[in-house]
Symmetry: C2
Subunit: 276 residues, 2 copies
Amino acid sequence: MSALEKRILSAVAIILLIGSVFYLFGTQGLFFLGFLLASLCAFEFAGINFSLNGAPKSISLLFLALNLLVLFISARLPNTPMYFLAGSCCIFVTCSLWMLRGACDNDTLYRVINRGLLGFLYVGVFPALALRLMVVTNGLPWFWFLVAIVVVGDIAAYFVGSSLGKHKLMPDVSPNKSWEGAAGALIGALAVSVLFKFWLLSEVPSALVIATGLTASITAQTGDLFESLMKRVANVKDSGRLLPGHGGFLDRLDGILFGAPVVYIAYVYYFETLLA
Amino acid sequence: MSALEKRILSAVAIILLIGSVFYLFGTQGLFFLGFLLASLCAFEFAGINFSLNGAPKSISLLFLALNLLVLFISARLPNTPMYFLAGSCCIFVTCSLWMLRGACDNDTLYRVINRGLLGFLYVGVFPALALRLMVVTNGLPWFWFLVAIVVVGDIAAYFVGSSLGKHKLMPDVSPNKSWEGAAGALIGALAVSVLFKFWLLSEVPSALVIATGLTASITAQTGDLFESLMKRVANVKDSGRLLPGHGGFLDRLDGILFGAPVVYIAYVYYFETLLA
């Protein structure tokens, strides 16, 4: 199977999966699916980041247990309380110091702590914001907006990049990405924004919809690069092996994770500031 | 000046400073002082963590600007919104990728991103929770409780550790700390808890006060070890040089930072669950 076929197949699979779950089980089903996918991303994150010299498997388990808490509470409680996140960080740092002392050098220990705390944000808070869009009042159109920006941007980047791509974007991190592809993703996101302005987000000011679309496209592309960087540092090719031939879940969802905070902030700004 | 004299002098200076600001300017003055100290901690954190090969000075400035936003918003807004933190992380990662691409290797780039996101928690959200205790309804007794646990625990650890200390706690990270000193800090925190139960927190259940005191003492000691680890990895002795001979602000406040989430969670649990 060619790279293009794989890409189309996995895009179709994602759309079919999300669409049918939403059709059959409604918002709650969608939330459950999202929660499951976010947990799989966290699982892959732990696999990539905690396989350091001397770091025991129990660190991954500790991270995953605490991250599940961060993810669930951030996604479910109305005020997204920061102190739960802070508390999880305290527990993680305390346990890491005890579990790893003597077992690895200081540099590795500091890295493990850094990666754990980054993880609570990257595979805890970020997906939680995407999940919140599914359950907050009038949030669902914004969730579809986020998904469309990322999926359409990804496809546009691929086609524009592979036909016109000449100038490398960040060759050390992701050798196949080009400036032309990045511009293609932005144009795709612009098209999605215009579509949503006339469809699901028709009451939202045009400037806000377009600014959100473009900004989320930039951060989603950052998410893609960040994920590549993470894999390069860990020296792995795919984030996971649960989807043979298609990379891992994190490979597919990296854009959604980094786009989510932008769209969520736009959502809150619209409902709490513009409409207040 | 001996280590003991330094320790006593800086403890007295801290107490005099906090006490006189509170006496003269009330809660708002205390908040302002706390905000200033937290910003100085962030400044020291950036100095320690972003002096990596190839990382330009602008990364520190970017971090500090975004962290000021995280700190202020987390400390001031009632619902401590997680999406501001997430948004700052997105901006930091995006800018880091652009500013550092080509300038340093992938490993350094990933470290810079890790440390930035850890920083938003460690010198952004953590101090913000201590600051919030000063301004929320009935929060001030809990703030004094936090300060007392850390200060008394620190003094107790020093005296017990230097007279009875035999068994090293974590020699690779902090060669002078002993299990005896850690036990001393816990006993000090227990004494503080009993005092507060009969004084400022008399209406709070004993079990909650004591559990909070002991847990906060453990995480505060973790904070101390974590700060030592950070300095060791960066190969610096003091976190800053603004207080000659006394280490930096981060050296003095590391316990408060890690104790804050525990005390804040206990505060919220008491007022929103037990009294609700």
